[in-house]
């Protein structure tokens, strides 16, 4: 009887520890959100979105930074997603299991852990100087694409692996070619998972500052970027600059910009959850 009580006790203690760990994370997040909201809500106005940076904190806005972020993210998605998904399909569905593919897999996993500033240095030499793209949106997007490719590939492979083998075998048994199996059976089922991985990877990219500063993204831009070869700045760089200014007015602007960045991030994640929910219901077996 006593032993049983002790066992039950141990179970309860573990549950409490696990609960405390969960609550800890949530409390820190809530405090952070509360603090930023308290400082930043006051500056959110229409002119905050339509104004360029300024030396006067009360006139400074995020127009060029927000547009830059949208441009860079759109191009990054355009480059990274097809490459990442195609690489994942090859590795999961086509590649033979041998030393070479294991070596490639190992390298992709290692690349996911490389500090982002290294990608910045690579981007500087390869895109900015090598391909002479200068400090353009295109160079930034290509650099960020490299940065998130490993994450995308890993997530897409995970999604492909989750597709039951029986589904493929059934299709093969009916005489479908490999491409037909992938196109009509595997991809549609794996699509929601791939989409989630894609959004998570882009969420990582949207907050990156270091690689973009390395390739020479700018801080003061008082015009709208109009094409992929234009100079640009992004929200994290603008936030970083405002936070380090002496005037308290800039700190409030930084908090406001953080709120905007959070809103963009959350709506991206929200979209992923919505799409996953909608698409998942359609494929049941």
């Amino acid at each position: 009887m006593e032993r049983r009580q002790r066992r039950e006790m141990a179970g309860k203690v573990f549950e409490a520890v696990a609960l405390a760990a969960t609550v800890f994370g949530l409390v820190v997040l809530a405090m952070l959100l509360f603090d930023v909201a308290r400082r930043g809500l006051g500056v959110l106005s229409w002119s905050f979105f339509t104004s360029y940076p300024s030396r006067f904190p009360e006139q400074a806005g995020i127009r060029s930074a927000l547009l830059g972020t949208i441009w860079v993210m759109a191009l990054t998605a355009l480059f990274a997603v097809p490459l990442g998904v195609a690489a994942a399909i090859y590795l999961e569905e086509y590649a033979p299991r041998n030393r070479l593919t294991r070596f490639i897999e190992l390298n992709i996993n290692n690349l996911a852990g490389v500090p982002s500033i290294i990608y910045g240095l690579l981007g500087l030499e390869l895109f900015v100087r090598g391909l002479k793209l200068e400090r353009s949106i295109l160079a930034g997007a290509l650099t960020l694409s490299l940065l998130i490719l490993p994450i995308l590939i890993a997530a897409s492979r995970e999604a492909l692996r989750a597709v039951p083998m029986s589904l493929r075998e059934a299709a093969f048994a009916l005489g479908a070619t490999r491409w037909q199996v992938i196109r009509h059976q595997v991809l549609p089922v794996a699509f929601p998972g791939i989409l989630t991985g894609m959004i998570l990877a882009l969420s990582r990219a949207i907050g990156e500052t270091a690689p973009l500063i390395t390739i020479g993204a700018l801080t003061f831009i008082a015009f709208d970027p109009r094409g992929p070869l234009d100079k640009f700045t992004v929200l994290p760089i603008q936030i970083f600059n405002w936070v380090s200014r002496p005037q308290a007015g800039f700190h409030a602007r930084a908090a406001g910009a953080i709120l905007v960045l959070l809103a963009v991030l959350l709506s991206m994640n929200g979209l992923a959850i919505y799409l996953r929910y909608r698409l998942q219901r359609r494929y049941q077996w």
């Binding site: 030396r55 020479g216 100079k231 005037q247 308290a248």
Partner: protein
Amino acid sequence: MNLRSALAAWVLGLALVVAACQPAATPPATPPASQPGGEVQPAATPAPQLSGEIKIDGSSTVYPISEAVAEEFQKAHPNVKVVVGISGTGGGFKKFCAGETDISNASRPIKTTEMETCQKNGVEFIELPVAYDALSVVVNPQNDWVACITVAELKKIWEPEAQGKITRWNQVNPQWPDAPLTLFGPGTDSGTFDYFTEAVVGKEDASRGDYTASEDDNVLVQGVANDRYALGYFGLAYYLENQDKLKALAIDNGKGCVAPSEQTVRDGTYQPLSRPLFIYVNRKAADRPEVEAFIRFYLTQGPALAKQVGYIPLPETVYQLALQRFEARKVGTVFKGGPQVGVSIEDLLKAEQ
């Protein structure tokens, strides 16, 4: 969204990018022939409207001034795109000497190694002082035992030998209390760190390492404001914005105590902790009309703008001398490649002539 539409969206996106990368369609080269018998059109002579792009990068200390000048200049010349980046004085010179930027912001004069890089790449530069910056040494407002500190005492606190040894106030000066001494200062990547160590310890980058370091001066402000026994140093602008939370010490450089203020920085008595800030202009870029106009604008409107963003303008004559220097396209540095402490920029510019 199914696969097909996703693919279609991607192809469309890529097509848009490729299209946007193409050079804009050039207008027809030949003007329409004048109508025979028609009235003779007066030759169109539009006012030379400036356009183009001016690329500026470099020191974060000089950034607020260049940002302010760029903001005002663009209001006057909406077709000129002025962009300003922050990559530190050293990082800025790397790009500048590679010919990637037109103007480099610098919180110290160019170094010999950087000049060699510039020379190797055929980049000549014009050096122009734009404002003063001062470093402030600050303590907590509750600190009632010190109002003035000598350079020797600062050296005793900050030199590398002090590491682990000078940890209490009375070790620096026996009249000060037997209380812990907590130190705050910028990290080693900062130009402020370079300058302070050179000015106080006597050797660039020679500093103790056991202090709270941050590249963000606002962190240092918070640190000193929350600790009664703290001492720290950073740019004067950060003290001026936080005067209710901090107390700035007067500095005794052998000629009595001098508190940091616009007056004492301008007349050169707040030494050795005040320094000039510079911009370096690429000699080739200087002949582009938009860059030329920008520099003239900088040296005439810059003083007032520098003051607005918390810096101290140089004496009027210095701007005139700098402008002359620019108009004469005089290349090179008046410094000999190393940061010099306690020099009057006015004397140097005059000596040059």
